[in-house]
């Protein structure tokens, strides 16, 4: 337990340190302020240019080439360390088209980890998100961004509940659509209005087994009605200063968890859908 808390503190310290280091000691001048070059990366088709870095509380990104960015989300590492093991995750995003007013991107990633159960068994999970996004610059101040993400989720457990061994794997897929309008009010402040919607969630399919004699191999299907048609409407702001950037928004309805690619039904968080990040780019 102490080791786990120690790991978590170490991770948080490292992240805060990296962000602070990025703010104070960036080798190149920090490229903040909203500009033609410096565009929002999340929920848009844009990605970091070559050798550019984005260090933030929520994600760390690096531009491998002008058209390809690699990202890892921090929350899965931190929460993974708290609940069992760190949760490795990587997302590659390519802005394969960016001319005139239009940009198009595709991304693919993975997230995997384990969650400890009360009975010391582990639930393993693996997520595979694939996304397409487009961004249209209507004028120098206003942009519109549209995208879709398909996420395949599979999980499994080898458990021992009471006297009955239970093992199995579950699979569920879901599709998310989003749209975001971005209005640059000044070179520091940009207003964003984001709408997210989940038009499709497959039924959960569980392949499992109950032990003992008789034993049973289960192949079951269950509807996930709570997530079907999940949505969020999130007005927010992105502040961009010399060094620091802050993204801040509070929306209504379901909470789309960045980095986990999952959705927390609105009634869990009283229909509050937060959006927050603090980051530097250089």
């Amino acid at each position: 337990m102490f080791r786990r808390i120690g790991n978590t503190l170490l991770l948080v310290t490292l992240l805060a340190g990296m962000t602070w280091t990025g703010m104070a000691l960036d080798p190149e001048p920090a490229r903040a302020y909203h500009s033609y070059e410096e565009r929002l990366l999340n929920t848009t088709a844009y990605s970091l240019h070559r050798r550019r870095v984005r260090l933030g509380l929520m994600q760390l990104s690096y531009g491998i080439i002008d058209q390809l960015q690699v990202t890892t989300y921090t929350m899965p590492w931190i929460l993974g360390a708290i609940f069992q093991d760190v949760a490795p995750n990587v997302e590659l995003k390519s802005t394969f088209f960016d001319r005139r007013r239009l940009a198009l991107s595709a991304s693919i990633g993975f997230l995997t980890g384990t969650v400890a159960q009360i009975d010391d068994s582990k639930v393993r999970y693996f997520l595979l998100p694939i996304a397409l996004a487009s961004s249209v610059r209507i004028n120098s101040d206003v942009s519109v961004h549209l995208g879709t993400r398909f996420t395949a989720v599979t999980g499994g457990t080898d458990a021992q509940a009471g006297d009955d061994p239970v093992a199995g794997a579950a699979v569920v897929d879901f599709l998310q659509l989003w749209g975001m309008a971005e209005w640059r009010l000044s070179r520091v402040v940009a207003f964003t209005f984001t709408v997210r919607w989940v038009p499709y969630v497959s039924d959960v399919v569980v392949n499992g087994s109950l032990g003992g004699n008789p034993s049973a191999d289960l192949q079951l299907q269950a509807a996930v009605d709570d997530l079907r048609n999940a949505f969020a409407i999130i007005p927010g702001f992105v502040f961009s200063w010399d060094h620091a950037n802050i993204r801040l928004g509070v929306g209504y309805s379901d909470f789309f968890v960045d980095g986990f690619y999952l959705i927390i039904p609105g009634d869990v968080l009283s229909n509050v859908a937060p959006e927050f990040d603090i980051f530097v780019r250089f």
């Binding site: 159960q117 595979l128 509940a161 569980v206």
Partner: protein, 299 residues
Amino acid sequence: MFAGVLGSCNSLDVPPAPNLQPVLEAYANPTAVVGSVIMSEVADEIAQAAEEIEDSKIFEEILEVIIDIQEELDQSTNEDGDLVLDATCSGGSNAGSACAADGDCPEGKCEGGVTLPSPTGVIQVNYICPGWDERQFEPGYDADPDPANGTMNLTMTLDSAGIGRVVWGTATTCRYLVPGEGESFEASYDGGVAVDLGDTVPTGEDIAELLVTFVLEGNIGFDGDDFRIKESFRVILADSEGLEILVEVEVPESDPPETETFNYFFQGSTEVLRDANGVIGCSLEESRCFDESGTLFSW
């Protein structure tokens, strides 16, 4: 590619259940008109089938497996009808044991696991038969099941209302003991199994109280003798003296060959025949059928 692989796993593969509707229809509407000619042909067959079915208690062995699985599912189902797998009690007197709801954990909470809201699907049941070792009846006997004693593999379906009415599969030289007065008898079954539970069985319903229709095709072994069975019969597990057999007879000179059916009931010492004309009493031992006015026909 991964998405394709994952997506391909995301569907159920439910095998089709055998169609028992013609059998159920035959029970409901007997078509044969039974007289002395028919009874002289089938009386011995009815008597032998009844004896082998009742002696071997094969229906009990099959139903006990279904009931075991039903109990497992019931224990894993919460009050909303959701299936809760791998949840355990945290704290309280049942700490660490399996649970489906907080009510299963006095002074504790039911946590963890996976909750499946109103699941549907298929359950493949694999049962290793108990064999002929008398020690299985001794208190505390806990030997590992031995596949050499044969197996029973059954398929059940699950829908939001409960266990599907048809359960089917095979028994492969399934050996078990039938307790008798002072001694146990070695019994076995090898063949196909199809069971109709009458309706979808919701959580908590006592299968032992249901009128269950069996269709068996295979070999029953009992106390050293083998008996070929290709029969449908009905029992209520809680009613140890009741048995209803579906009797199939060929229509004479029909081309192509046609069959008709009637029902023969055993209830303790009482025997009843139900054919297309109605219900009459019979006695296989006395080789006659009768009504209130006396003997109708004999053979």
